[in-house]
């Protein structure tokens, strides 16, 4: 087994395992921590696929911003591990069934397209370094307009978040 394969298997194990643990653990803070580890492993996957810039951005945005937000919210609400009620068995079984069904459907769909029969392109040309990525992202015929719209989206999200969490005036 080559190094790459080994690396891939390890990273996949970490990803799946921590993701599952994130869902399964009772304490929300534990969940958050497991999720951060999972994100790191996904960043590792990106590196494996030679998308360096994306790996770094992933870490900054997800682990560095989104999970921080989650942790703040969890601490704001003072959630404890004994916060949740006892759960009945039927939704568990049903959710498990649906897990299998969805996985099966997705794999079937993709496998029907038979991607592994095609030649993997190997031009040797650089297609994903920062330079090329920057060009594609900010090119006029590229993705400049969606880029600008994404920034507006973030602005709106910011304003929205501020508005939503304002305390209402108690005077009616």
């Amino acid at each position: 087994m080559s190094t790459v394969m080994l690396l891939f298997y390890m990273l996949s194990a970490v990803t799946l395992g921590t993701a599952f643990l994130a869902i399964y653990s009772k304490n929300p803070i534990h969940s958050a921590i497991w999720l951060v580890v999972s994100f790191f492993s996904i960043a590792g996957h990106y590196l494996l696929l030679n998308a360096q810039f994306l790996a770094l951005v992933h870490i900054i945005v997800y682990s560095g911003a989104i999970m921080i937000l989650f942790l703040f919210t969890i601490m704001l609400m003072n959630l404890n591990s004994d916060g949740e009620k006892k759960k009945p068995i039927v939704p568990l079984v049903l959710a498990g069934v649906l897990l299998v069904v969805v996985a099966g459907i997705l794999v079937t769909i993709f496998m029907n397209a038979q991607p592994e029969s095609l030649q993997y392109a190997a031009t040797g040309k650089d297609f994903q370094s920062i330079k090329v990525l920057g060009k594609v992202l900010l090119d006029k015929e590229g993705f400049m307009v969606p880029f600008e719209f994404a920034s507006i989206l973030l602005l709106i999200a910011m304003i929205g978040a501020v508005l939503l969490s304002k305390k209402e005036n108690t005077s009616k």
Binding site: H45, N50, L54, Y62, L69, M77, L79, L133, G160, A161
Partner: protein, 106 residues
Amino acid sequence: MENVLEIIGIQNYILLSALMFSIGIFGVLYRRNAIIMFMSIEIMLNAVNLLLVAFSTYHQDAQGQVFVFFSMAVAAAEVAVGLAILVSIFRNVGSIDIDELKNLKG
């Protein structure tokens, strides 16, 4: 330089992504805590991102990665607003167990 995917094989990535997505769905359906449900949604998004990048390498095209950028931006925005809503609900109802939020019944 050969494509790394020739070693790993795209079907592995498909499987990985599908499994992660399903785990995310399991989390959304099973847990009752809204925060954990949100986290499951993030897992799902990540699965999709991973697959996008894999296929970007497969086609040697940068557009896949650009899409991932935008996906991440949207994910960030969504988390911000979603958590703000959750905080509002917590302030009004007192708990974020979704079994308590049943006012819209028919």
